[in-house]
């Protein structure tokens, strides 16, 4: 069945595009310098790191501007790289594809990235190996750009694992802390389970289409049987869940908060966790042909959306609340990506805006923590709006954006998704709206506990406004959160139509479909509940609760316990069983062969009793035997 959308054939790179690999090369060079430089680069290392990311931002902007100038057809530009492996009928090249989707992502990564770099110069000011921190951050930028700019699944996989490695290094940056090391390991292993899906998907693609190149796959996708296509879709979904912390593989995201806050902002809010959505959107040609796989994506999206909201509303740690909200926002994006060609554009739109305001929220939380001597428990905050006005204002703007108050960015991006969800199916729409309401509730709870209400600071803590270097990124991001919604509302659909195969229909910023109004109403109800519940007295210690909902929410929906029982303990027991089996049976059989021989030897030695007469007896027996044989021989 021919896919209903036209295949975009990228045109060969000319002019500036042929230098697009510079985007990756600059941060790679910087991270190499910082890593190999050693102590010498300590004093100016961090500024070099910031320069690295700014460099690639400049290249990205330049490419974006030239691309704007190009006619739509020529916007997908292929930069042919070198031949990675070509053997038999398998040939894998390493080339770059710069098209609307990937340049948008590059801008997000480098844009938000540079702001976060600037922020972390201040945030990590007194950390001894700050140089290493910036080296890893640059490594992350390199890996993320490779992921988004790759023109085939294999190079994407290289970026994919590179990002996993960078997140491992950064989560476990303070390795002295045992919990950080555990969280880092957990993140990498769970990501690796996701990567399993991508690996199997690639094998199937090579088996089915003979190549892993996006264009080849998109062209040849029609020829494959639907069963294999569904399998392919599910494999890719597994990979996406691993990386974007969707329900089956989401346990690592909340532990990832062990890392420094800029890391959480950059990796676990804005960029890396959205890689899964990018993968699903990039392979839209596969998902269009398998309704089952797309449905699976939607279901995973919705379930994660609710799970994230549930966890977000029960946690007391400000970063864990934001992590839960990230998980649920990505649920929205996954839901949109699963809905189909139209949904892809909305998913990326929400992803873009979410990148800005979620990074802003995280950095705001970072500056709050900075002021509160790195304490993250919201019950110890309260009434910070008077003490930290700038942080409060920027935080508030992003708060309004994320819950989806109209003029701001969050509303438009989420509104499209909710509308698309309603069109997809009333149950999807209902759950999406409910999710929006819960999001409003827990974000209000966070605002109330942190900035409003009475002062609940621990003794010896006297919060003060963060230094300028922390505030500047906050301000820029909050401006983004305000402006982006309206600016990109229609433009993004046209911009992303070719790579995502959607049919844009523009709508002015003020005409909002009925579903939009319903959602807004639910959001306002959520805010009201949040305000009423948390304007009164808030206890300093976390109250011990018997309410099951709150208990389950606090324990991350018992995901860790489940993993622990099934995989860690069960796997451990199985492994121990195999180990003993190996020792006892395989090795045992060899050892017993040895002792058997010794046993036989011992028995025989008893015959050598030393008594002449017993030898005599043996001789007589022998003689008789010979005699008998002779006689029998004679008789027979």
């Amino acid at each position: 069945m021919v896919s209903l959308l036209e295949i975009v054939i990228p045109v060969e790179a000319t002019g500036l595009f042929s230098y697009s690999w510079l985007m990756i090369a600059i941060p790679m060079l910087v991270s190499a310098i910082l890593l190999l430089g050693g102590k010498a680069t300590d004093s100016w290392g961090h500024w070099l790191g910031v320069l690295g990311v700014l460099g690639s931002l400049a290249v990205a902007l330049a490419l974006w501007i030239t691309m704007l100038g190009l006619p739509v057809a020529e916007r997908a530009v292929h930069v042919s790289g070198f031949d990675w492996v070509s053997v038999g009928n398998l040939n894998l090249q390493a080339g770059l594809l710069v098209d609307q989707l990937s340049i948008l992502f590059a801008l997000l990564v480098t844009g938000v990235g540079s702001l976060i770099f600037i922020y972390s110069v201040g945030y990590m000011a007194h950390d001894p190996n700050r140089r290493l921190f910036f080296a890893f951050l640059n490594l992350f930028i390199v890996a993320m750009l490779v992921l988004v700019l790759a023109d085939n699944y294999l190079l994407l996989f290289l970026g994919w694992e590179g990002v996993g490695l960078a997140s491992y290094l950064l989560i476990g940056f303070w390795q002295g802390r045992h919990s950080a090391a555990l969280a880092a390991k957990k993140a990498f292993v769970v990501n690796r389970v996701g990567d399993l899906g991508l690996l199997t998907a690639m094998f199937t693609m090579v088996g089915l289409f003979g190549s892993v190149n996006f264009t080849d796959v998109n062209q040849a996708v029609g020829s494959a049987s639907t069963t294999w296509l569904t399998a392919l879709g599910l494999f890719l979904l597994l990979a996406a869940c691993g990386k974007s912390a969707q329900v089956p593989l989401q346990s690592w995201l909340l532990d990832a908060m062990e890392g420094p806050t800029p890391v959480s902002a950059l990796i676990h809010a804005a960029t890396m966790v959205t890689a899964g959505v990018y993968l699903v959107v990039r392979s839209h040609s596969i998902y269009e042909l398998t309704a089952a796989a797309s449905l699976a994506v939607c279901i995973v999206g919705v379930v994660t959306l609710l799970a994230g909201a549930w966890i977000g509303s029960t946690k007391d740690d400000i970063k864990k609340v934001l992590a839960g909200s990230t998980m649920s926002q990505i649920g929205y994006m996954m839901l949109a990506a699963g809905i189909g060609p139209a949904g892809g554009a909305f998913a990326i739109f929400h992803l873009f805006t979410h990148g800005f305001f979620k990074a802003n929220l995280f950095l705001g939380a970072g500056s709050v923590m900075h002021a509160m001597n790195d304490d993250t428990d919201m019950r110890h905050f309260g009434a910070l709006r008077k003490v930290m006005p700038w942080t409060f204002v920027t935080f508030g703007i992003s708060y309004l954006a994320i819950i989806g108050i109209p003029p701001l960015a969050g509303f438009y991006s989420k509104d499209h998704i909710v509308v698309a969800a309603w069109e997809q199916g009333w149950y999807f729409g209902l759950l999406a709206t409910l999710g929006a309401g819960i999001t409003a509730f827990y974000m209000t709870r966070l605002m109330m506990m942190t900035f409003f209400g009475k002062k609940r600071w621990a003794e010896g803590v006297h919060p003060h406004e963060s230094p300028k270097i922390l505030l500047f990124p906050l301000i820029v991001l909050s401006i983004g959160a305000i402006v982006l919604g309206v600016v990109l509302n229609n433009a993004i659909q046209y911009w992303l139509a070719p790579p995502t195969g959607g049919h844009p229909h523009s709508a002015a910023w003020w005409d909002i479909p009925w579903q939009g109004w319903v959602t807004l109403l639910v959001v306002l109800v959520g805010v009201g509940i949040g305000y009423l519940m948390y304007r009164g007295e808030i206890s300093y210690e976390q109250p011990h609760t018997i309410n099951p909902i709150v208990y389950i929410g606090r324990n991350d929906l018992l995901a860790d316990q489940f993993n622990d029982v099934v995989f860690v303990r069960g796997g451990g027991a199985a492994a121990a069983a195999v180990a003993t089996l190996d020792d006892v049976i395989v090795d045992g059989s060899v050892r017993s062969a040895g002792s058997l021989a010794k046993g036989i030897g011992g028995a025989l030695s008893k015959l050598e009793s030393g008594y002449a007469r017993s030898y005599g007896l043996t001789m007589v027996i022998g003689a008789i035997a010979v005699g008998v044989v002779l006689i029998l021989g004679r008789l027979a």
């Binding site: 492996v85 294999l154 994919w160 492994a575 180990a579």
Partner: protein
């Protein structure tokens, strides 16, 4: 390049000569002689590696006419790769074990001989190994196949832990048992060729000789068991962890780097090269064994509490991948497994030597004795992490290139097997990172504070630097080496008479 001078023989004999000199020269001077010898061999080996691309160095001289045994050496793609691996590994191992005499590890006995003997034995292993890789006559192959055991045995018993004698004996018995079975097969080869007119042990023209199904199967079983013991596959693998635990990490790196490769090398060169019909017949069983080895090795690596045993179990798992690649019968999977042999040589050597550095400092390799080493030796931690990531096959390292090409090639033919084998990538992540976390992160105990005082010194950087560089170079640019190695895969596929499955013919056998 007139091949009047028998270059391949010179390459093989060179390390043996230096080994004899090193034996003779006592004390430190002997060690220097051995090291110089290994460098000379390395230079000459690398030159041959590049020169062999353009001209044919094969030599053929009748050796024992009566039974048709030839002194025949030749170098094809796979041979060149293995020669390159061997000549690079030996100097690195010699530098790594430079302070062999002054090393005091608790539980380790006094070294039996001087460090010059260690160098000499290593060169002897290299010399015999090179001859095995170059031999194109079954009898010659067999003789050097057995010869490598002797120096290896002394390497293990000479220096190492308390039960080094027992471990060396176990290694020797396993390999000799395998070798014996192979001897029957070699004699079988003579019988078959003699039956078909002119008796000859040459590998190349053996496949053409018509022989009955059962005879071919018998020969295959004989050869395969010997190679399965050498490249440790599950039922016969228990000698490797014991040897690795007791022997000095340098010796184990040599063992896993060079000797174990003879197992998979032999499978391609002899099992597939000479007995294609039987190989096809045995494929289902072998693939199952390979998959078991992959998962089994990984699981045991997770449960092991001793770093050296952990690394040796990872080798068992990786050899499973190679065998899976070989018996998937596609050009890419065979090329992938040969490339993986090379990559695994470097990555396992890197990991073993990194554990060796830990052992030099802490005196023991039990994971429980470590904790928070990163505080005091960040560079060592970094090096261990990189080699660990190479072992678990992170993209960008040579292991990934090998593993990926194997699995992609094997997928159409052995879908189920690859589907199970791919889980090993997750298990690999678990055992590497869990070991890294228990050894390097967290709060250091006071013994660790006392013993881990110095980070990597110049010598250790000189050892691990090139290995990691090679891993990354072959990880990002594997194509040049793939071209070299593909030549063997193509010839093997012609001999076996199989063609690669066309895209779209999924799941078909």
């Amino acid at each position: 390049m007139d091949n009047s001078i028998p270059l391949l023989t010179v390459l093989g004999v060179l390390p043996l000569i230096f080994s004899l000199i090193a034996f003779a020269v006592r004390g430190r001077a002997g060690k220097h002689v051995a090291f110089v010898g290994s460098l000379v061999t390395m230079v000459f080996g690398i030159w041959i590696f590049f020169a062999a691309a353009s001209n044919d160095f094969s030599e053929m001289v009748p050796w024992i006419k009566a039974i048709g045994a030839w002194y025949a050496l030749s170098l094809d793609g796979m041979g060149r790769a293995m020669v390159l691996l061997s000549v690079i590994l030996v100097p690195i191992v010699l530098i790594a074990e430079w302070t062999l005499d002054s090393k005091q590890t608790d539980g380790h006995l006094e070294p039996r001989w001087g460090s010059n003997v260690f160098g000499a034995l290593a060169l002897m292993v290299e010399g015999f190994g090179l001859f095995v890789f170059m031999a194109s006559d079954v009898l010659l192959f067999y003789i050097f196949f057995e010869a490598t055991l002797i120096p290896m045995f002394f390497l293990i018993t000479g220096w190492g832990g308390a039960k080094r004698g027992k471990a060396a004996m176990k290694f020797l018995l396993y390999s000799l048992a395998g070798g014996l079975i192979m001897l029957f097969a070699v004699i079988g080869v003579y019988a078959v060729t003699a039956g078909a007119g002119q008796p000859s042990f040459l590998i190349d023209d053996f496949a053409a000789i018509a022989m009955s199904e059962t005879v071919q199967k018998m020969l295959f079983v004989g050869f395969f068991i010997a190679f399965a013991v050498k490249a440790p596959m599950v039922p016969v693998h228990t000698w490797l962890p014991d040897t690795a635990e007791q022997a000095v990490p340098g010796a184990t790196a040599l063992l896993v780097g060079i000797l174990d490769k003879i197992g998979t090398f032999g499978m391609i060169r002899i099992c597939l090269g000479m007995l294609p019909g039987a190989s096809l017949w045995a494929t289902p069983l072998v693939v199952v064994l390979a998959v078991i080895s992959i998962i089994y090795g990984a699981v045991l690596a997770i449960t092991s509490t001793d770093l050296l045993r952990l690394v040796s179990y990872t080798s068992v798992s990786h050899f499973g991948f190679m065998v899976l690649g070989i018996f998937a019968f596609t050009t890419s999977s065979i090329t992938g497994s040969i490339f993986y042999m090379l990559a695994h040589g470097f990555s396992s050597a890197a990991l073993f030597l990194a554990v060796g550095f830990l052992q030099n400092r802490r005196g023991s390799v039990a994971i429980a004795d470590f904790g928070g080493v990163r505080e005091f030796a960040p560079l060592l931690a970094g090096v261990f992490l990189v080699s660990g990531l190479a072992t678990l096959g992170l993209p960008g390292t040579a292991n990934f290139a090998g593993e990926f090409v194997i699995m992609t090639g094997a997928w159409p033919r052995q879908t189920a097997a690859v589907a199970v084998a791919v889980f090993a990538t997750v298990l690999a992540a678990v055992y590497v990172l869990w070991a890294y976390q228990r050894v390097f992160t967290g709060q250091p105990s006071d013994e660790v504070k006392k013993s881990i005082t110095s980070d990597l010194d110049g010598r250790e950087k000189l050892v691990i630097g090139p290995l990691i560089a090679l891993l990354l170079v072959f990880g990002f640019f594997p194509q040049p080496m793939i071209n070299v190695v593909e030549q063997t895969a193509v010839t093997t596929m012609n001999v076996v008479g199989m063609t690669d499955p066309l895209p779209g013919s999924m799941g078909g056998k």
